[in-house]
């Protein structure tokens, strides 16, 4: 079976990566598609959506010794949304786990 829980949580994963350090698009795509079973083009539309929503912003870095790269960076509201999203997810995941293990009545 192919449950859809992947899709919902990808944005949270992106925010989490950017919370730790600024990344460029390929960074995010490569890391997440390595660990999660998604196509490698999935992350680019998600990054753009986050930018349009004002949660991330971009800047061009010219001195990485190659062509200029577009880096993604969390905005202050992005940090806020990430913090609350992370909490929400933790509570949610724990609840689901408890249900699966039959710990809830």
């Amino acid at each position: 079976m192919n449950f859809q829980f992947k899709k919902g949580v990808l944005e949270l994963c992106v925010l989490s990566m950017l919370d730790k350090r600024d990344c460029y698009g390929y960074d995010v795509s490569e890391f997440l598609s390595r660990h999660i079973d998604i196509s490698e083009s999935t992350m680019y539309p998600i990054l753009r959506k986050l930018k349009m929503e004002g949660l991330v912003t971009t800047y061009i870095d010219e001195d990485s010794g190659g062509p200029p790269r577009k880096y993604y960076k969390l905005t202050r509201s992005g940090k806020e949304v990430y913090a609350s999203g992370k909490n929400e997810w933790t509570v949610f995941a724990n609840t689901i786990q408890n249900i699966l293990e039959g710990k809830l009545t």
Partner: protein
């Protein structure tokens, strides 16, 4: 399919769906190919791991759709914002005025305390009383001044947070009708760091106790000195 064919098709699909910043998107996919080729993958291997250009373009158009809103909603949002802002400005003036009142109260209380303790009688405004009574009163008013200052600090933090929450509300109304997505709203209780809060609370409690003790002490001292409960009669304060 080759890289060139893939990118050409992606470009075509993005144009078909009228995606804005198409060039930026194309550049990102070109860089993707660049990195993967540098890592040793062939063009075919790279393309296999990507969605088809058709699907990719649709994924990009998903967020475009959400951003569209109609003109009527925008006009409504702007007029609502103007109303809210005017009311808030008026309310804000009253709030700030109260801060000024608290500041004035704190200053006059401290001035009074200094005069009482230092035996300065400016224009004979302070009625005559034995020094130990004056000193006790002075201490109590100084404590009251401290309390007023702390109250002022809390009130200012409260106003500041109110304004920040309002600003976020204002921005949300604007973006909801212009860009379609909003930020989380802020809490309205004052945001004071825990340690500062704790210290202010201890100071406030101490001042409150000092004020109570000193004021009652002052009253008792006055009654004892005057030899009567209504010491202000004996000393002819209000004649």
């Amino acid at each position: 399919m080759t890289q060139k064919q893939f990118l050409a098709e992606l470009d075509r699909q993005l144009s078909l769906l009228n995606i804005s910043d198409k060039d930026e998107i194309m550049m990102e996919y070109e860089q993707h190919f660049g990195f993967k080729l540098a890592d040793g993958y062939t063009e075919e291997e790279i393309i296999v791991k990507l969605d088809t250009p058709n699907i990719i373009a649709q994924q990009f158009s998903g967020s475009e759709e959400k951003m569209k809103t109609d003109g009527a909603k925008k006009v409504l949002a702007i007029s609502w914002l103007v109303c809210c802002d005017t009311m808030t400005a008026i309310f804000g003036v009253f709030l700030l005025a109260w801060v000024a009142v608290m500041a004035a109260a704190a200053m006059s209380l401290s001035a009074l305390a200094v005069c009482l303790l230092g035996q300065l009688n400016y224009h004979s405004l302070i009625p005559d009383m034995p020094y130990w009574c004056a000193a006790l009163y002075g201490v109590s008013f100084a404590a009251l001044a401290v309390l007023t200052v702390i109250g002022g600090v809390y009130f200012t933090a409260f106003i500041r947070q109110l304004f920040r929450a309002y600003k976020r509300f204002h921005i949300n109304i604007y973006t909801r009708s212009f860009k379609g997505l909003t930020l989380p709203s802020l809490a309205i209780h004052p945001q004071i760091p825990v340690r500062v809060n704790r210290r202010m609370r201890t100071v406030a409690l101490i001042s409150l106790m000092v004020f109570a003790v000193a004021f009652v002490g002052g009253l008792t001292a006055s009654m004892l000195s005057a030899g009567a409960f209504e010491f202000w009669h004996v000393w002819q304060w209000f004649q």
